[in-house]
């Protein structure tokens, strides 16, 4: 009974976690704007949210023997929704970070993060006013 009250919050919570993960991804891209050979990455948000809200199957992980190695599966909530961004203008040092695109994505992502926060706040307010009694 009680978990029905909070079930609706779970979806927004997953979305919020994914938004913050995407924000970190974009921050990594901007941080590596001058690193030779760095390939920019972005998240397919719709796919990541679908994966996160569906019942997650047990993921296989790759063995990691060095600190820089990528663990393969079970990579946070985003999982396989991470994609490589293509360069709009190619570079001699094979860096594919497009600063304009990354800045636009960061602005977009932070507005959507705030929107999700407001959804959560509104739901909490609705619930508290329902259980307060007048």
């Amino acid at each position: 009974m009680l978990n029905r009250l909070t079930d609706t919050l779970d979806f927004q919570g997953q979305a919020l976690a994914l938004r913050s993960e995407r924000q970190r991804l974009l921050a990594s891209n901007i941080a590596n704007a001058d690193t030779p050979g760095y390939v920019a990455r972005d998240m397919n948000f719709a796919q990541a949210l679908r994966q996160a809200t569906a019942a997650a199957p047990a993921a296989r992980t790759l063995a990691t023997s060095q600190p820089g190695h990528i663990s393969g599966g079970a990579a946070g909530a985003a999982g396989s929704a991470l994609e490589f961004a293509t360069a709009s203008q190619t570079n001699l040092d094979r860096n594919t970070v497009d600063m304009d695109r990354e800045r636009a994505s960061i602005a977009d992502n932070s507005v959507r993060y705030e929107a999700t926060l407001r959804f959560i706040n509104a739901q909490v307010r609705t619930l508290t006013s329902a259980i307060t009694g007048q």
Binding site: A31, N32, A33
Partner: protein, 139 residues
């Protein structure tokens, strides 16, 4: 909390860019140096950036910071100017200056400063989002 590691990622980038700016400053300061303490003319230095994966093993690997892997010296020969009256002139009357290209260094400086600003902006955005997250459910 994945948002907190943004400060680590952008912080590493900011310190790497600051180091790049530092190298640019010493290159520009030595643009007209004739001979260093070792008797050789100053050689321009360049920082080499490298991606630094910041997630612990098993953690999401979407956090990628930056580190300066090495500071490389430019090995091209220095500028040679014919000036027999100069005290550092060699037997043929040539003086060897440092191989710093001032125009390249200025471009490098502007690029470093823009990247620095971008990373600070990212940190400010993350900070304001985190502050709003802390107030979740209070309004």
């Amino acid at each position: 909390m994945s948002m907190f590691s943004i400060f680590k990622v952008s912080g590493s980038a900011v310190s790497a860019q600051a180091q790049r700016l530092n190298v640019v400053a010493s290159n520009l300061a030595n643009a007209d140096t004739v001979a260093g303490p070792d008797g050789q003319a100053y050689k321009a230095r360049q920082v080499v950036f490298q991606t630094l994966m910041m997630g612990a093993p098993g953690q999401p690997e979407s956090a990628a910071g930056v580190a300066v892997s090495q500071i490389a010296e430019d090995q091209t020969p220095g500028r040679r100017v014919h000036d027999p009256k100069h005290p550092q002139a060699d037997a043929d009357g040539y003086v060897t200056y440092s191989n710093v290209n001032a125009v390249e260094e200025m471009v490098n400086m502007i690029s470093a400063s823009r990247s620095y600003q971008n990373n600070i902006e990212v940190m400010n955005t993350a900070k304001s989002l985190l502050q709003k997250t802390l107030q979740m459910g209070q309004s």
